[in-house]
Symmetry: C2
């Protein structure tokens, strides 16, 4: 089904907007599974997610529409289907560069495995932390990063380091086989065509909150 | 100028899209100031931000259009104007609930003051951390939270705690005078009409990255 989305530009655009919402669907469906809910109607899902039932039906129709009249959606099926579209139905290896507070927070973030991600190691240049473990994961010297990611088929590198260091590391990663960078440094990184970058700017959120508070 | 934006719904909608982009403008303008750049053309700004010059002109026209023909924008003026629109031209007091790794990372986040925010204290329920300091800020017992935020005119509470605890604390904050919650817990919080919530879901970013990597 997913491939149909790509058949023309208009479809692709629709898809992009939905993709942005998919992680949220995935989060809510995961909560429903935890609560033992097996089926849910579009209006039930709409209620807990704070959107309209027609939005839910429209979104879910786009990737197959698994609801049955008078029965609703099978929560587990829908959850698995969303995982498949997001490509998190298989595990992606991640390493974290920067074993500071944010690196620690990420490494110990609950439920990452459940969402298709496995943090395999951290990297730092501080001799004091190299050789230690964080959340059971080893911390290696930053010099070993590029060899490690290639040898271990790491797909994602999370950068929890200041911006100058992030730019330097991103440059080195150009020649590796990684596919994505999750960048927490206070700068937008642009690496190469082969490496997708997702920039996470914590200060942007607090500024947006501040604006909305005053509306 | 800013008030004109609210004059009808269409204007308001245009504004919302721009508001989303403003923190990014603010970040780039801040970098230009750091680099000693005093003036920049719309095409220069477009180039470093990876957008079109017409997008820049359109956006900036919406809040006054400070560019001068053949001279460009005064970087510092534009920076100050963006700050004003985002209401970060004055300091907002923040407390952080949860003195764990993410709380530490936030408390030590560089340049928060420069962006209109002052972290005044952290709160935790762990006896071992109560009474210590994080980045020079005191850690108090969670029981003192509601009294503290009212007594000290705290406007924003950042929640860096698990979701059950976050829901519980959010409930208690309903009766305080705070204006906003920055929620990092893995759940969407809805508090009350008087309190704006910005939910920051780190896992959503990594899922989106994963999807884009496979596109």
């Amino acid at each position: 089904m997913a491939d149909n989305r790509m058949k023309d530009n208009k479809d692709k655009e629709i898809s992009r907007a939905i993709i942005k919402r998919l992680p949220r669907y995935y989060r809510y469906l995961g909560e429903l599974i935890d609560e033992g809910v097996e089926h849910i109607s579009s209006s039930g899902l709409a209620h807990i997610m704070g959107v309209t039932a027609s939005q839910i039906r429209q979104d879910l129709n786009n990737f197959g529409g698994f609801g049955q009249q008078g029965y609703g959606y099978n929560v587990k099926n829908l959850y698995d289907e969303v995982a498949k579209i997001l490509h998190i139905d298989r595990i992606h290896k991640i390493v974290i560069v920067g074993a500071g507070n944010l690196g620690h927070a990420l490494a110990q973030y609950a439920n990452f495995e459940r969402r298709g991600f496995d943090i395999v190691a951290l990297f730092d240049r501080d001799e004091k932390v190299i050789g230690t473990t964080v959340g059971g994961k080893p911390v290696y010297a930053i010099d070993e990063l590029t060899k490690f990611v290639n040898d271990n088929e790491v797909e994602i590198v999370a950068l929890t380091i200041p911006k100058e260091a992030a730019r330097e590391i991103a440059e080195k990663l150009k020649d590796t086989n990684i596919k994505g960078i999750l960048n927490f440094a206070h700068t937008d990184l642009h690496v190469s065509e082969n490496i997708t970058v997702e920039n996470v700017h914590l200060t942007d959120y607090i500024m947006r909150l501040c604006y909305k508070m005053h509306e």
